[in-house]
């Protein structure tokens, strides 16, 4: 243990604890800008400087471990003055457009400027004009707002292993951009949006499409319907000051109707359909030996894109089942429209997703138009929904509860846990076990695949055969799992796994790139806990037992993997170049 003093308060912390973390233990908050709890310190900004007694220079608290006998001062006149100068220098290179910035009110730089009481421009502003990158349609980069903290680059390279963004050049010319004068859409970017979730300013944001939705809602020729993704229900509350994990499902149903949506569906319903299709696919491959093993989940569009660019040798292993978003879209414009006698051409489907890549998924392949129309018209993130609710004048948190619309609204506990890493696997195993054995699993809780460990493994006994499953989240964790499969294939050995789930974002969708700001592991845990509570609270916890799903197959699709199901609910994959240019 290290014993030292911070602002004259005694502290005792394990060796290796940074001054920044040690200070928190005595309720001292050292301001930071580049530091993020998910990431290694880069010591880029210099805001967190402190002084050690006897030392002749200021040291950065984020990357300096506390040592025995140190006497740290975190706030005195000089230190605060230096911090303020550093901040003024950063601001001199940042556009003064807070009022029209997407991050207005949620910007870490803006907050710091307010905390430091910066009320005039101390240094003449110089901002180099650079056009924004809007090429992906999922995320928008405004290079002028970049403060070169390096978070997005660490996220893109280390956490996600995507390597779309890089620091280029140096000194005053340093910039964060895709390498080689190309747009983000031409780069290896998979649109996961983790860069936007970690950016301290408005330099990387989701492509805001709220205006498109307002226009649709006011269009008398459109029948607007909406779906809510599993994870959104436990995160949207954060934008209204509620703790992470607060389940607002029924308030959301209410609020969306008040916004003007004619029907409110739940993506959880489609998650149940995805499981019925995917579990049937698994049984086909596992029990009937038709198709490649391991089966790999495909409901995460960033993962799909990453696979098509980097691991296309696994295309045959990919589940052809569409993601819940796309399944709900196509079912609304076929099944629902048919049942209610609505012209599907007039149906306008909006989806509310935790994810920036879901915007990309809408037009991914021609199968996304299986209804004969664009199955989902527009996808917005949790952050965009929160903005719409704030604009609408609805007192969201005090709304009465409501129910989802029938036909595509009922969901089971298995559907809701799709939003957390391991959830798809757990839901699929519950149903696959039933399909293979005709019996219900003794314990529906598959604890081995829950939690935030990067790669999780588990075994389930199905008819005396051990089914080995693996779950990876955060794209940097994928390669090891796939390499184990490749090595076994090469050596002619049995596959190490039968079923693999991958989610691009750490924590799964609850940690998605479009979720409310400020994510870290503590928050991911609380959000996931909210979903697992929802699962426990549900009477029905297996997808194949969902009464509306049973009705869907009886009255419309016939049976899982039927020709009609294949036409509407399945898709294909193609190898794509890593760089388009």
């Amino acid at each position: 243990m290290i014993k030292a003093r911070i602002n004259d308060l005694p502290v005792e912390v394990p060796e290796g604890t940074t001054i920044l973390d040690a200070a928190r233990q005595v309720q001292v908050c050292i301001p930071t800008l580049c530091k993020h709890r998910d990431l290694l310190s880069t010591a880029a900004c210099g805001i967190c400087i402190v002084r050690n007694k006897g030392g002749n220079k200021m040291i950065r608290a984020c990357c300096t471990p506390l040592e025995n006998g140190m006497e740290i001062t975190t706030h005195d006149r000089d230190i605060v003055e230096v911090r303020r100068s550093t901040l003024e220098l950063i601001l001199s290179n940042h556009p003064n457009g807070c009022l029209t910035c997407e991050r207005n009110g949620e910007c870490e730089l803006q907050k710091l400027a307010a905390d430091f009481n910066i009320n005039q421009e101390a240094i003449k502003r110089y901002v180099k004009e650079t056009p924004p990158d809007t090429s992906t349609g999922s995320i928008v980069i405004d290079f002028t707002k970049c403060i070169k903290c390096g978070r997005c680059i660490q996220v893109c390279q280390e956490m996600q292993d995507v390597w779309a963004l890089s620091f280029l050049e140096r000194g005053i010319n340093t910039r964060m951009a895709p390498a080689g004068d190309i747009t983000l859409a031409e780069s290896p970017c998979v649109k996961c949006g983790q860069c936007s979730a970690h950016c301290p300013t408005g330099a990387i944001v989701e492509n805001d499409e709220t205006q498109t939705i307002w226009e649709a809602l006011h269009d008398p020729n459109k029948v607007c319907v909406v779906q809510i993704a599993p994870s959104v229900r436990v995160t949207v509350g954060e934008a209204f000051g509620l703790p992470p994990g607060t389940n607002l499902t029924r308030k959301l149903y209410s609020a969306l109707r008040r916004l003007g949506f004619k029907a409110v569906f739940d993506t959880n319903f489609a998650a149940d359909v995805t499981i019925v299709e995917e579990a049937s696919e698994f049984i086909e491959r596992f029990a009937h030996k038709r198709g490649a093993l391991p089966l790999i989940t495909s409901c995460c569009p960033s993962w799909t894109d990453f696979m098509e660019k980097n691991h296309w040798d696994f295309i045959d292993n990919f589940s052809t089942a569409k993601s819940p978003q796309q399944m709900l879209g196509v079912l609304a414009k076929t099944y629902y429209a048919e049942k209610l006698g609505i012209d599907p051409a007039k149906l306008y489907m909006v989806s509310i997703m935790p994810c920036t890549a879901k915007k990309y998924e809408l037009t991914r392949t021609e199968e996304m138009y299986a209804s004969g129309f664009k199955d989902v018209d527009v996808a917005i993130t949790t952050r965009e929904l929160a903005r719409m609710l704030k604009q609408s004048g609805i007192e969201f948190l005090s709304l009465p509860d409501a129910e989802a619309d029938s036909l595509l609204g009922d969901y089971t506990g298995a559907g809701t846990i799709f939003g957390a890493t391991g959830g798809v696997m757990e839901a699929a195993v519950r149903t696959a076990y039933f399909y293979a054995t005709g019996k219900k699993l003794k314990s529906l809780d598959l604890e081995a695949v829950r939690g935030l460990q990067g790669v999780k493994e588990g075994t389930v006994d199905i008819n005396g055969t051990p089914v080995r499953v693996a779950v990876a989240h955060g794209l940097a964790n994928v390669e090891d799992v796939l390499n184990r499969v490749r090595e076994a294939q090469k050596a002619g050995k049995e596959t190490p796994y039968h079923f693999i789930e991958v989610m691009a974002c750490p924590g799964g969708c609850i940690g998605g790139g479009g979720q409310p700001y400020g994510v870290d592991n503590e928050r991911r845990q609380k959000r996931a806990a909210g979903l697992y509570q929802d699962d426990r609270d549900k009477q029905i916890r297996c997808s194949h037992e969902n009464p509306e799903v049973i009705r869907l197959y009886k009255e419309f699709l016939d049976k899982p993997l039927s020709t009609k199901a294949h036409h509407l609910l399945h898709t294909r994959y193609t190898a794509r170049p890593l760089y388009k240019r």
Binding site: W163, S166, L168, P178, A179, G180, D181, P188, Y579
Partner: protein
């Protein structure tokens, strides 16, 4: 891509007059493969590999960088990051002759800038476009060549010329143009 060649000590690294760049990418591939193999395909040798590739082509064409990344099994983003970080590396083609004007403190106070302006005017180049369209000349400034006693200094290829004036600078360029034009 804007190369950051100005105001840096690294600019003093000698750039010899290399053979004309291999125009066809296929020709490049063979040279790059040879260089990467020579360094055992080790990504830790990225900087010396890029130095040799640049010696070969006089600059680092984007497709060459992409090929280096592929051969070393590292992300192109990393190779571009390194290639744009060091002032020594050029992402845009450089001329056959490199004219470097010292703008270190000593040269600057002895009026180096008018010399630079005169040479640039004569060759029709500027800071953003430092290379003549015929790829014959590139004009750069460097921070200090360590020859302050001779200030102001112009270095053409590897020849140092001291006590320059705008007129002498232009004459120097004229003589090189004449030499190139000679049969």
């Amino acid at each position: 891509m804007i190369s950051n060649l100005n105001h840096d000590l690294n600019g003093t690294v000698a750039v010899t007059t290399a053979p004309a760049p291999a125009a066809h990418p296929a020709g490049r591939a063979a040279a790059i493969t040879r260089i990467v193999e020579k360094h055992g395909r080790r990504s830790s040798r990225l900087v010396p590999i890029l130095q040799e590739v640049q010696e070969e082509f006089r600059y680092l064409p984007p497709d060459a960088l992409a090929l280096v990344a592929e051969k070393l099994n590292v992300a192109p983003a990393r190779v571009f990051g390194v290639a744009t970080f060091y002032a020594h590396f050029a992402i845009k083609p450089k001329g056959k002759h490199l004219v470097r004007l010292c703008d270190g403190t000593a040269c600057h106070v002895k009026d180096s800038i008018p010399i630079l302006d005169a040479i640039r005017r004569r060759l029709g180049v500027d800071a953003r476009h430092p290379t003549t369209p015929d790829l014959m000349f590139t004009v750069e400034t460097v921070a200090c060549l360590g020859a302050c006693g001779l200030a102001p200094v112009v270095v053409v290829d590897d020849q140092v010329h001291g006590a320059m004036t705008p007129a002498k600078g232009v004459a120097l360029v004229e003589s090189m143009i004449a030499k190139e034009a000679a049969p």
